[in-house]
């Protein structure tokens, strides 16, 4: 039975036993080549198939998923059984068919999922890295194509293709390491050679860093470092579920100037990106959502469940990962605003990445992390490497008064973010 027939069958069978049924279906093919000892090591190919079923009966939502088509009946039974235990809630139905506007693109017709192409990208990564005197200790290239569909008993059946091309490289020189990566739906956007060169350059240039004294310094977070910290702290605070549950620092602050007026935060599902889509993981039409405009908090993100429960309505922000139930997330999130000419013009500590961002306190925003590839920056140039240090601060306080945003926005997963200059931050030397 192919996926489409099976979806139909589950919907018909489920409708007999519940008020409503939804099926989320994903299948994909990916290949990957991994670098070992500076040459091509493993070659991998993965085929995945997953079906997730939700049932609703008297406001009780049930869920199950399976990667085994033969177990679809068990999966439907499990969804119904789980619904019997769920607390009933306000529920006004799965979305009905809608005219989907816009033509978001997250699939590249020219991307072929072939191991030979991934192997060629590894060749490009390595030739880029060869421009600096380093050892390559890891990395690789991945190509993937998937098909996602959501269907429900209200008559929706949406399907879309997605592609991803991703590369990464990890280099070392003595005890100095460098890591760079990039991912895009579009193969032509990936410059593997340049990613390899950048990673190698970080490792080569960070060698023989000088110690730094504990104290307060102006810092420039690269887009990678900024994305790590904001991803752990800011993103969960914008989730309507965390807001309503009293787990968001930003709750009760709608209309307030919460951040510097040079910061806007929005989700644009129609921009080209890894999460571009005209419908969310529950089949709700997506739209551009401005969460923060010039520092003023405007709204939060909701899925159907949280939206119905609190009378807010879904904002088309449902996302899924693996075989899990849908949750609130973002499609292509942008941190944006007016840019300064060069955030590293006046002397500051430039930070490429941080170690341990996931240990930041997502509720208070407090963090203290080890920094990676720090340099003194002046006149926009990385002048001198710093050996090692910690950075301590608070993400919400940082965003309330920034020094400025750089012109170097880049995509880090589903987040597009520029470098951020922050004045007077706490650095702990060794």
């Amino acid at each position: 039975m192919n996926g489409e027939d099976l979806i139909e069958r589950i919907l018909r069978e489920g409708e007999r036993r519940a008020d409503e049924v939804e099926v989320f279906y994903a299948r994909g093919l990916s290949v990957g080549t991994e670098i070992k000892k500076g040459i091509l090591g493993n070659a991998e190919e993965s085929e995945a198939w997953n079906m997730a079923v939700r049932t609703v009966k008297d406001g009780r939502i049930g869920f199950s998923a399976t990667s085994d088509p033969d177990r679809w009946k068990e999966c439907l039974d499990a969804a119904l059984a789980s619904g019997r235990l769920a607390t009933p809630q306000q529920w006004a139905g799965f979305p009905k068919p809608a005219d989907l506007t816009g033509t978001p693109s997250s699939a590249d017709g020219d991307l072929v999922v072939a191991v030979e192409d991934a192997a060629r990208m590894v060749g490009d990564l390595l030739s880029g890295a060869a421009e600096h005197p380093v050892e390559v200790v890891g990395g690789g290239a991945d190509l993937a194509r998937s098909y996602l569909a959501v269907a429900n008993s209200s008559g929706i059946f949406y399907g879309m293709d997605r592609t991803v091309a991703a590369v990464s490289l990890e280099a070392i020189r003595e005890r100095s390491t460098g890591y760079e990566f990039d991912a895009s739906p579009f193969l032509a956007e990936i410059d593997a050679r340049s990613v390899g060169e950048q990673a190698a350059s970080l490792a080569a240039r960070s060698l023989s860093g000088r110690d730094i004294e504990t104290g307060r310094y102006d810092v420039v977070l690269s887009p990678v470092a900024a994305a790590s910290l904001l991803g752990q702290v800011l993103l969960p605070a914008l989730s309507g579920r965390n807001v309503k549950a009293g787990r968001s620092f930003l709750a009760d602050k709608i209309g307030d100037q919460v951040f510097d007026e040079r910061i806007s935060v929005y989700d644009d599902p129609f921009a080209p990106g890894l999460g571009s889509t005209a419908w969310d993981a529950e089949g709700t039409p997506t739209r551009r959502l401005v969460f923060v405009e010039q520092g003023v908090l405007g709204r939060f993100a909701y899925d159907l469940k949280t939206g119905y429960r609190y009378g807010e309505g879904s904002t088309g922000s449902a996302v899924r990962s693996g075989g899990e139930p849908p949750g609130i997330g973002f499609h292509n999130l942008f941190i944006d605003g007016p840019r300064m000419k060069e955030p590293g013009d006046e002397r500051a500590v430039w930070i490429h990445d941080v170690v341990g961002a996931h240990t930041a306190n997502p509720f208070s925003g407090d963090f203290s992390v080890e920094i990676s590839n720090p340099f003194w920056i002046e006149g926009g140039d990385l002048t001198e490497p710093i050996r090692t240090a910690m950075l301590s601060g608070n993400v919400f306080e940082m965003l309330a008064g920034i020094g400025g945003l750089g012109n170097d926005a880049r995509r880090v997963g589903r987040l597009t973010i520029p470098s951020i200059r922050l004045n007077n931050q706490q650095i702990i030397g060794k």
Binding site: K37, S64, R71, S82, V115, T214, A245, V355, S368
Partner: protein, 442 residues
């Protein structure tokens, strides 16, 4: 067909049961199913690896065609690997005290609700608890004629409480996971503890960053062991040149008497009866009496690097095996807890863990405590929050001044190469000299 020096197939079919209760609302309570297979072929150079759903391992034809497809992948590799011979054997899986499959979902939900409710002490505004149960049926066969199967059962929960007052929000969290049976009865104490910690953290201060003496509790000292030593001793990182511990076998990296072990055969949360390549598991002393003595290996890294013990290959279902830790710990020393506080005099006591991370090539790690106390004149003083510790692998073990006599293991999950596997870490209380403490207090 392209050359096939070796192949293996590992199938994991199973069920995952999750219950999620958020502020008294049962958000979800249900079971999902998976059936994943990984087929590896070692060609003339390296591995070709296929991942598939729902493979019939008993069908000779299906296996042959998968091996052929994987061999075509292997043909593009350039890095020549060999596999070391390794001892075979499967340990018996510890018996289940109570099989979680004998407890219905309704009772699991009710018990979890009890833990979640217990966390709602005065001052707590939000509570959330999650129960996680995994039943894995594992089957393995390889071209050398080895074959095994076993069942792994994991059951446990986490509970988080958030207290807030005047715009300040603080969190307390507890978790407990085991491989030896159903693990949700009589656990309200842990819920209550999460709630109490969250409330008391409202009055805790932010510590001042800098270099000072630190006492680590067994849970945090376990994470320290895992981040500071465990990862850097993984044979794949050593082989790639990505670990500062490469080439350091036989060298002193820590104080005399220090013993650091990874032991997949212990019936703790990281237990495996056999590794993911069919190799027998055994206790591995990474550090013996302060000297680096063994790396953690799989068959290919043992062949390439030597100096260590195989049986450390693990994989998340549907992912290829890589070198991983299991149950990692520092052995007991002889210092009593009071003696450690007394010897510390002025410093900081750090408790619990919010996780950590390491850059093994640079030899730098960071990890975070759930909370702590200042130590003044050898006595516990004011509570502190949001405090991290960082250090350098090659010097940090020399800074262990005292090793306690009260080792305890804590369960958790460890991520590497995009795969998450169950592990446990542990240590007795430790006194560290010259610890770099990150905190934003003035």
């Amino acid at each position: 067909m392209a050359e096939v020096r070796y192949y293996d197939i590992r199938c994991v079919r199973g069920e995952i049961t999750l219950v999620d209760i958020d502020n008294g609302v049962v958000e979800s309570a249900g079971t999902s199913f998976f059936d994943k297979a990984v087929i590896r072929v070692l060609g003339s150079k390296g591995w070709g690896i296929l991942t598939r759903d729902h493979v019939d391992i008993d069908s000779k034809r299906e296996v042959e065609s998968l091996v052929e497809a994987a061999s075509r992948l292997a043909a593009v590799t350039e890095d020549h690997l060999d596999l070391a011979d390794a001892p075979r054997g499967v340990l018996p899986v510890p018996p289940l005290k109570e099989d979680p499959r004998d407890v219905d979902l309704e009772e699991k939900t009710r018990l979890l609700a009890g833990v979640e409710e217990a966390a709602r002490v005065a001052g707590v505004g939000n509570t959330r608890a999650r129960y996680t149960e995994g039943i894995d049926s594992v089957r393995f066969l390889d071209s050398s004629g080895n074959e095994y199967s076993y069942e792994a059962v994991r059951s446990g929960f986490s509970v988080v409480a958030i207290a807030s007052r005047n715009g300040v929000m603080q969190m307390g969290s507890e978790r407990d996971h085991i491989t030896t049976g159903f693990n949700l009865r009589n656990k309200q104490d842990l819920g209550r503890k999460a709630g109490e910690v969250a409330v008391s953290l409202l009055d805790a201060k932010l510590p001042k960053g800098g270099t000072k003496r630190a006492v680590l509790d067994p849970e945090l000292a376990g994470v320290f062991t895992h981040e500071a030593v465990g990862h850097a001793s993984e044979g794949d990182l050593v082989r790639e040149g990505a670990s500062v511990l490469g080439g350091k076998i036989g060298e002193r990296i820590g104080c005399e008497g220090l013993v650091i072990v990874d032991d997949p055969s212990l019936p703790e949360f990281g237990f495996i009866p056999v590794d993911a390549e069919g190799v027998a598991v055994e206790r591995t002393e990474i550090v013996r009496d302060g000297i680096l003595s063994s790396y953690l290996h799989n068959r290919e890294t043992l062949a390439a690097v030597g100096d260590g013990v195989p049986g450390h290959a693990r994989s998340e279902h549907g992912a290829p095996p890589i070198v991983r830790m299991s149950n990692t710990f520092i052995e007991n020393g002889d210092a009593a807890y009071d003696e450690i506080l007394e010897e510390c005099r002025d410093g900081i006591l750090l408790i619990g863990s919010r996780g950590g991370q390491v850059d093994p090539g640079r030899g730098v790690f960071q990890f975070n405590a759930e909370y702590g106390y200042l130590i003044e004149g050898g006595e516990k003083a004011g509570m502190v929050r949001d405090v991290s510790l960082s250090g350098e692998i090659l010097s940090t073990l020399h800074n262990i001044a005292l090793v306690g006599d009260d080792r305890k293991m804590s369960p958790g999950y460890c991520g590497k190469g995009g795969q998450s596997v169950p592990v446990s870490d542990g240590a007795p209380h430790l006194l560290l000299e010259n610890a770099t403490i990150g905190g934003r207090g003035e």
